[in-house]
């Protein structure tokens, strides 16, 4: 039968790879990544962490400043548990949405608890004799990310 414009649908045909072969490929990849992790052949690790209602992309030895109060004293070690993504140069581990606690460990220390610079809030409505001035100094906390570790327990 001759091919007309309506023989095949106008969208491109999509074919998924064979599930059996795909399962073998997945198992191979998981084995390789586990091998890399247990051998320790990764450089610097970065992680995406959900902390203080924000997501941060962090590495080791970097500073984070959040605009709120933390109930820990200065010098306390903190473990961040909601890790969304961990990556190195050759592999990335993407969580759906979070990674397991037995897989990643992110440690941080509280360094400083200060207030922000005094921000001035002024509301002014011209010709209406309306002026309000308020000075706000939010409390801030500074954390230093000490280490990010991963353990070879993928499946």
């Amino acid at each position: 039968v001759a091919k007309t414009s309506l023989t095949s649908p106008p969208w491109p045909e999509v074919k998924l790879p064979d599930p059996v072969e795909e399962a073998k490929y997945h198992a191979e990849v998981v084995r390789k990544v586990n091998g890399l992790i247990s051998a320790g052949e990764y450089g610097r690790l970065f992680a995406v962490v959900h902390f203080a209602s924000k997501q941060w992309k962090i590495t080791s030895e970097d500073l984070i400043m959040m605009d709120n109060v933390l109930e820990a004293e200065c010098g306390d070690r903190i473990r961040m548990e909601k890790v969304l993504l961990v990556g190195a140069d050759d592999f990335t581990l993407i969580g759906r949405p979070l990674l397991g606690k037995d897989l990643v460990r992110v440690e941080a220390t509280v360094i400083e608890k200060t207030e922000s610079w005094p921000k001035v809030n002024v509301r002014f409505w011209r010709r209406h004799n309306f002026q309000r001035k308020k000075i706000i100094a939010n409390p801030q906390t500074v954390l230093r990310i000490n280490t990010i570790e991963i353990y070879p327990c993928l499946s």
Partner: protein
């Protein structure tokens, strides 16, 4: 004689006018022209500057989100995906990274972003296949052609 009220020539006069004026002028020192020196002009400029900074703090959040979206769009187009497809398929695969982090990954971790784009593309294709169905007719229908006898 008994004096019940203060005498008329004793008025209460400001003694710290200098410091009150300096409080306003210190916020105007980096302005251009006479408004960094003259109080009358500086008061108006400083007030407008404060009002603008309050409003800008609310606009900054919108502006930054737009910037992140533009960057993610550019990066996903490099990998052959449009922004709505990318974001929707990432969310459907239960990856809840926000736009700020996605923009940072697109800039500093190109390999990770490529893998996320591949994930989104694969989920998109699976979605298409699921929507198209198996190509069989639905149950309960015995014929598609109506025969009139």
């Amino acid at each position: 004689m008994v004096v019940l009220s203060a005498a008329r020539w004793v008025r209460s006069r400001l003694s710290d006018r200098f410091w009150r004026v300096q409080e306003v002028l210190k916020h105007a020192r980096h302005f251009r022209g006479r408004k960094n020196r003259c109080y009358r002009l500086a008061v108006r400029s400083v007030r407008r500057a404060f009002v603008r900074s309050t409003k800008a703090r609310r606009e900054k959040k919108r502006f930054l989100r737009e910037l992140w979206i533009t960057r993610i769009e550019a990066a996903s187009l490099e990998h052959g995906l449009k922004y709505p497809a990318f974001i929707s398929n990432l969310l459907k695969s239960q990856v809840e990274l926000n736009r700020k982090v996605l923009a940072d990954l697109a800039i500093y971790e190109p390999k990770t972003f490529k893998s996320l784009a591949a994930l989104a593309q694969r989920r998109r294709q699976e979605g298409f296949l699921a929507a198209l169905g198996d190509g069989k007719e639905p149950e309960g229908i015995f014929s598609r052609i109506v025969h009139h006898h």
